[in-house]
Amino acid sequence: MISMKNNVKYRIGKSTGFQALTILLACSCVVPLIFILIYILQAGLTKINWHFLTNLPKPVGESGGGIANALLGSIIIILVASVIAIPFGILCGIYLSENRKSRLAYWSRLCVDILQGVPSIVIGIVAYFWLVKPLGGFSAISGSVALAIMMLPIIIRSTEETLKLLPDSLREAGFALGLPFHRVVLKVIVPCGISGILSGVMLSVARIAGETAPLLFTAFGNPYMSFNLLKPMQSLPLLIFNYATSPYNDWHDLAWGASCILLIWVLALNIFTKLMTRKWKVQL
């Protein structure tokens, strides 16, 4: 009887021990993130000022300079990628949710799954052969296409998952009023699932805003200001990569500032999406 009691005590102790260990490990996961955030804010915030945002980078040896070209380049490349990926992704998501059992839907869904796991560098290689080579040189548009391909799985999945959850009665209400299929989808189903679709779109933008690998052999980077989609263009992650791996301290400073801006941008987009999805949700 006594040994039984001791045994129970031991088991309870073990259980408590593991609980404590779990809590400790779980909480320590966020430590690196906090370190990184603090470090980059410390190193970067001091570099950011109006001059930094509106000027071009200076050549080696001169201090100062800014990242205006990378900032604008990033925005342009992302906008073009969004213009390509958003309509395509939403339409594909609609197809998948409307035709759940068709053979084409099966293969299409499989391809979305595959695409989601493809390493970004591989997308870069493919974009190189599809656009850079035929166009005869690195270009912003090829970078946008590579990023658009990376956006697709996120948009398609979130659209499909959202629309699948809407009740069939909504579609029936639309059809019973004599609405054609495209109006039922575009005016009834999509507006009711808009929160999920938008959150997918915003997450995909957040995801590609920091992508570097697919841009290495497509947009390539450019130390000057450029608005030509058919010419190389700088972007924030490219600038960070190039300047961070350079041996010059002035360039490191630029890279810290750029990292800080990129980090704030990406995290803000993520947090904003989380908060807004709740607000936009249509009450069913």
């Binding site: 088991r11 259980s15 021990g17 593991f18 609980q19 260990l21 779990t22 809590i23 490990l25 779980a26 996961c29 966020v30 993130l33 370190f35 990184i36 470090y39 980059i40 395509f88 594909c92 197809y95 998948l96 839907a105 391809c111 799954d113 695409l115 796991g117 493809v118 390493p119 970004s120 560098i121 591989v122 290689i125 493919v126 052969f129 599809w130 697709l152 398609i156 004599g178 054609p180 299929f181 495209h182 995801r207 920091g210 992508e211 570097t212 690998a213 290495l216 052999f217 992650p237 960070i240 990569f241 961070a244 810290w256 990292s259 990129l262 990406v266 995290l267 993520n270 947090i271 989380k274």
Partner: protein, 328 residues
């Protein structure tokens, strides 16, 4: 189609004497309605066809990616054959392309990273799935862990270069290996941080799905919390947890920028986990724009092809496991 509408319009006036007088005067809107509907039917067919084309394009896109990789690497496949995979020398100048150092580097960094990250991601999964599924703090933890995946990899690389490399270097000095700082070990640490969220969030949702009657059965027999986790939750969710690990592995294998920045970039076979090396992804990133002759370029693309195939297989197996689990 046409005739039905014509008769439609024709029959309407004949009955209008009776029907419309009873109803409100709506003739304007109803003729409008019918004319309008005509255009709608055409638009409806266009829309249906567009959806099918888009779905087909999705399939074509992925097939295109695969075919491009295969086609562009044929030159290298022809010249090196299967020996490519275990050739120990990578020397572009002499046109010798053996991918073994990079495959080894990729496997070393990825599995080392997994080994480091698994305890943490499982801890998060158990913490959020079983111990504290609700409340502001678990919610905060969940969102913060998800943010780990949101930080761009180039920023991890830069931070690793500036902060982690010196720390590793002094650690290496202490244990008496060549203090480089850059290398497999540093890359693995960065990767471990980056892949935590994937296994954690999948594991959390799997643990959430364990039926409470199973857990209650174990509790009613006098099991402690830990015993329930070990002998009910883990066996029940093992395929799901494994799928989460596979997702993490897929991410680690393909991660490029952070690794490229801290791995040290050498084509030599790494002698220890502290030695510099290269992964498949980092070689491509470093050498792709420098590849000056077709075989060299093709050899790099073959690396991409291998990477593509491996990640596809890993992700498919992972998805299957998750699908099986959620269907049961």
């Amino acid at each position: 189609m046409k005739s039905s509408v014509d008769t439609n319009l024709a029959t309407r006036p004949s009955e209008s004497g009776r029907v419309v007088s009873l109803k409100t005067p709506d003739t304007v809107s109803s003729t409008k309605r019918i004319k309008r509907s005509f255009r709608q039917i055409r638009a409806e067919n266009v829309f249906r066809r567009t959806l099918i084309i888009v779905a087909l394009a999705m399939v074509a896109l992925v097939l295109g990616i695969m075919l491009t990789l295969i086609f562009q690497s044929t030159l290298s496949i022809k010249s090196s054959g299967l020996g490519y995979l275990w050739g120990k020398t990578w020397d572009p100048v002499r046109d010798i392309f053996g991918a073994y150092p990079f495959i080894l580097g990729t496997l070393l960094t990825s599995f080392l990273a997994l080994a480091i990250s698994i305890p943490f991601s499982f801890a998060v999964a158990v913490f959020l799935g079983e111990y504290y599924p609700q409340g502001w703090f678990p919610n905060l933890l969940k969102n913060t862990v998800e943010l780990i995946a949101a930080v761009p990899s180039v920023i991890y690389g830069f931070w690793g270069l500036a902060v982690l490399v010196p720390i590793v270097r002094s650690f290496e000095t202490k244990i008496g290996v060549e203090p480089v700082g850059l290398g497999i070990f540093t890359s693995a640490i960065i990767l471990a941080i980056m892949v935590i969220p994937y296994a954690a969030s999948l594991g959390r949702s799997m643990i959430h799905m364990v039926p409470s009657n199973l857990k209650e059965a174990a509790y009613s027999l006098g099991a402690t919390r830990w015993e329930v986790i070990r002998s009910v939750i883990f066996p029940y969710t093992k395929s799901g947890l494994f799928a989460g690990v596979l997702l993490s592995l897929g991410r680690a294998l393909g991660e490029t920028m952070a690794v490229t920045m801290v791995i040290g970039n050498t084509s030599l076979i790494p002698k220890s986990i502290f030695a510099p090396g290269n992964t498949m992804a980092s070689v491509i990133a470093n050498e792709f724009t420098e590849a000056d002759h077709p075989v060299y370029l093709s050899a790099l693309i073959e690396l991409g092809l291998v990477l593509f195939l491996v990640t596809v297989v890993i992700n498919m197996v992972g998805k299957r496991l998750v699908g099986k689990f959620t269907n049961e």
